[in-house]
């Protein structure tokens, strides 16, 4: 028996309506753990090579981890994987909430969706019963409205994922929504769901999970909560959640501002964590079993209207607030709500809108093309753009393709400030003086995403200002010295294994990352729940294997994939930061080459960034090595 896991893979083919339940292969669990590991391996094994992301043959995988649904801090993470509409390569996205526990209580660790339904549909999973039913009026409705309707129709105890109009219309950065404000936001997984004519999945489970040592796991789980509560920072970090970092990123000059033109926003205190708590918040909103709920649910009031919204969390503040230059937390919250309802990723949406506004300012997009004037700092411009994008109307049809494709079409230098890597828009950290973080963005498997390795603290530590500067600045340096570029790969690689390991386990990393909840606790809980003795180091080895696998997936799926896909936009190596603590800094082309050279070598990849056969075999990925060898 596989303790900890629910034990089954549920396959639903939306073309034929066939439903299949297979036992979870023990070998899959042993070699890839769960969650992200399952997604990566099953995509490699089951996705027919070369399919279009929007073809019925693309597959959408939803996976829980071995620890999802168990009694330990924040065990409610759900992992999504598919072939990326944004990059054409490996895609995954992770979401908090309550979905994966419900999926497991219903009996499944993994849900694999294939094909395309003949008509807009919903999937309802109630323990053993699986039903595909017409989406009816839900098709066309907002992502939040759809969830509200389905909760009323099916019952409060169903956990539901939905897409909005953006997913239905295949916007390449459409997200999957859950629990009125949680999203699998990145890589366009919502558009893949839309391409399958699938509006929502609702799941309810009444079963129990098999546990190796139930009494021990219960006891240790209870202790875990006590330990987390006793950690320094427990009481302090939670009230503002992720938005609490807004001040710091400005004070050290890494806050994306005006489409990443600069890295410091003068009005940052108007859109920081304190503003969220004091002006918007109604309640803290937690994921499953979370002792430190970072979700802030509140109400935003603006001249354009009022709305309930979960958030804004930090990334939405950075991209909608900083990059689009909104200086009111109410306006950031409202823009966030508009994206949530339309089913748009707030990160990519902010990046796309910022790029479009800069194009407009520079005369690369005309008033006729856009349909009106658009400006930084103008909520009305954003709401207009987001609606155009979600419904692919007018200029929205171009912008719905994301900044990489749109800038290729517009040309005339607009590629230089299209802020993305591999076709995925950049999230909330500007890196012209953060070489480690820059490398993390360049080499993240899904594109420019921060949640593979967050190295910023180390970059800032590395560029430590002199005591003299600190004294004259009251503890903050007015001007940050340049952070050393060489020697970043080791830390980037270490962190690229840690964060994704939590995505394999199906739990949140924040208690570990923010509060320092020790790895020994996870090792012990993993043993009591699964009966498998794995050290943290051994688990990290699995995470490392997954890292090579996801890179190989992109090599297999993108014909000319390699080093040229790992560069940031020209803005970051051609334009020095114009204002703020990092004024004057940039990373030169040579420095970017150095970062990649050191990283590839340390990874065991060739100079073009392709994993070598030897490296893949060392990771136990012989079949992957053979496939890549055939390709080359």
């Amino acid at each position: 028996m596989l303790f900890g896991y629910a034990g089954k893979i549920l396959r639903i083919d939306l073309t034929s309506g066939n439903v299949r339940k297979d036992p979870l292969p023990p070998e899959l669990a042993e070699r890839f753990l769960g969650g992200r590991g399952f997604v990566a391996r099953l995509l490699w094994e089951e996705l027919p090579s070369g399919v279009d992301p929007f073809a019925p043959d693309n597959i959408l995988i939803i996976a829980a981890g071995p620890l999802s649904g168990h009694l330990l801090p924040a065990s409610g993470k759900t992992h999504f994987g598919t072939k990326s509409p944004a990059t054409g390569g490996y895609a995954d996205s992770n979401m908090g909430g309550h979905f994966s526990p419900a999926l497991k209580y219903a009996g499944y660790d993994v849900l694999i969706l294939t094909g395309r339904a003949a008509q807009p549909s919903l999937v309802k999973i109630d323990d053993n019963e699986v039903e595909i039913r017409p989406a009816g009026d839900c098709w066309g409705a907002g992502a939040l409205d759809t969830e509200e309707r389905l909760k009323k129709d099916l019952g409060e105890d169903f956990q539901i994922i939905t897409i909005g109009p953006a997913g239905e219309r295949l916007v390449r950065f459409a997200c999957i929504s859950h629990d009125f404000g949680r999203q699998a936001g990145r890589t366009g997984a919502g558009a893949v769901m839309g391409s399958k004519n699938l509006k929502a999945v609702a799941v309810r489970g009444s079963g129990s999970l098999p546990v190796y040592d139930l009494a021990g796991a219960y006891q240790k789980g209870r202790e875990a909560y006590q330990k987390v509560k006793a950690k320094p920072g427990f009481a302090g970090w939670t009230p503002e959640g992720t938005a609490g970092i807004t001040d710091w990123v400005n004070e050290v000059g890494v806050f994306p501002t005006r489409n990443f033109q600069t890295s410091f926003f003068e009005d940052y205190k108007k859109i920081n964590g304190r503003a969220v708590v004091e002006k918007l918040k109604i309640t803290d909103k937690g994921c499953f079993c979370c002792p430190t709920p970072c979700g802030k649910y509140g109400r935003a009031e603006t001249a354009l209207g009022s709305a309930f919204v979960e958030g804004p969390e930090y990334e939405s503040i950075a991209l909608l607030g900083g990059s689009c230059f909104l200086n009111s937390i109410h306006e950031v919250g409202f823009a966030n709500h508009v994206c949530d309802q339309l089913g748009l990723d707030t990160i990519s949406s902010g990046a796309v809108a910022g790029w479009a506004i800069e194009c407009f300012e520079k005369g690369l997009l005309s008033k006729e093309q856009v349909g009106r004037e658009i400006r930084f700092g103008d909520l009305d411009s954003l709401v207009y753009l987001f609606n155009r994008i979600a419904f692919r109307e007018g200029i929205g049809d171009l912008l719905a393709e994301g900044v990489k494709r749109a800038s290729r079409k517009i040309g005339r230098g607009s590629e230089d400030f299209a802020i993305h890597v591999k076709g995925l828009e950049w999230s909330g950290y500007e890196c012209r003086n953060a070489p480690g973080m820059m490398l993390a963005y360049m080499t993240a498997d899904v594109g420019a995403h921060h949640n593979r390795a967050w190295v910023l603290g180390h970059d800032v530590a590395g560029s430590a200002a002199s005591v003299h500067d600190l004294i004259s600045g009251g503890g903050r340096a007015e001007k940050m010295p340049k952070s050393p570029v060489s020697g970043k790969s080791e830390k980037v690689m270490e962190l690229q294994h840690i964060r994704p390991l939590f995505d394999c386990l199906g739990i949140c990393r924040l208690q570990y990352m923010e509060l320092g909840f020790e790895v020994e606790n996870y090792e012990e809980l993993f043993f009591l729940i699964t009966g498998q003795r794995l050290s943290w180091e051994q688990m990290l080895k699995i995470s490392e294997r997954v890292w090579h696998l996801t890179r190989s997936f992109s090599v297999r799926e993108i014909p000319d994939f390699g080093r040229k896909y790992d560069y940031p936009p020209a803005r970051f190596h051609q334009e020095p930061v114009p204002t703020g603590p990092n004024k004057g800094h940039l990373l030169t082309q040579e420095e970017l080459e150095l970062l990649l050279d050191e990283y590839y070598q340390a990874r065991g990849w060739d100079k073009n960034g392709i994993p070598t056969s030897q490296t893949l075999e060392k990771q136990g990925l012989e079949d992957v090595a053979q496939t890549l060898a055939k390709k080359s």
């Binding site: 489970g205 209870r222 994921c287 002792p291």
Partner: protein, 132 residues
């Protein structure tokens, strides 16, 4: 032991449902949220908050029970497993909606005031108070 009552401070609840898991674990030795004797209601999108649904030992279940299987002892109403015939009249009669039926159980699930939910709640949203 003095009689106690379970109370919720609703505004502290963040909807994590650890209480449901602890309740199922303590009373049924099972890792699930579906065998819990309390509930969490997320009121979204509006008004945007959580309510904890819990048993205040009002005794309506005992009154509804045709076999007198639910009896009060020191402020707690407990089910006598020998007398319960699983008719679930009490589930219908419960004014708070916190007597639960489960497909795998012959008897309803009722709060025993064990305090497992109070002990686990990371928010201090549940308290056991001495009855006035």
């Amino acid at each position: 032991m003095k009689p106690v009552v379970l109370k919720a401070i609703h505004d502290r609840c963040s909807g994590c449902r650890a209480c449901l898991l602890a309740c199922s674990l303590d009373n049924f030795r099972e890792m699930t949220v579906s065998k819990a004797a309390l509930g969490i209601q997320g009121r979204f999108p509006a008004p945007g908050d959580y309510r904890v649904l819990l048993c205040d030992q009002c005794g309506a279940c005992a009154e509804a029970c045709p076999t007198e299987a639910i009896r009060e002892t020191e402020g707690r109403y407990l089910i006598d497993h020998d007398l319960c015939m699983g008719c679930l009249s009490c589930v219908e009669a419960c004014p708070k909606g916190v007597m639960f039926a489960h497909p795998s159980l012959d008897e309803p699930i009722k709060c025993t005031l064990c305090g497992a939910c109070v002990a686990i709640c990371p928010r201090g949203a549940l308290v056991l108070e001495r009855r006035a």
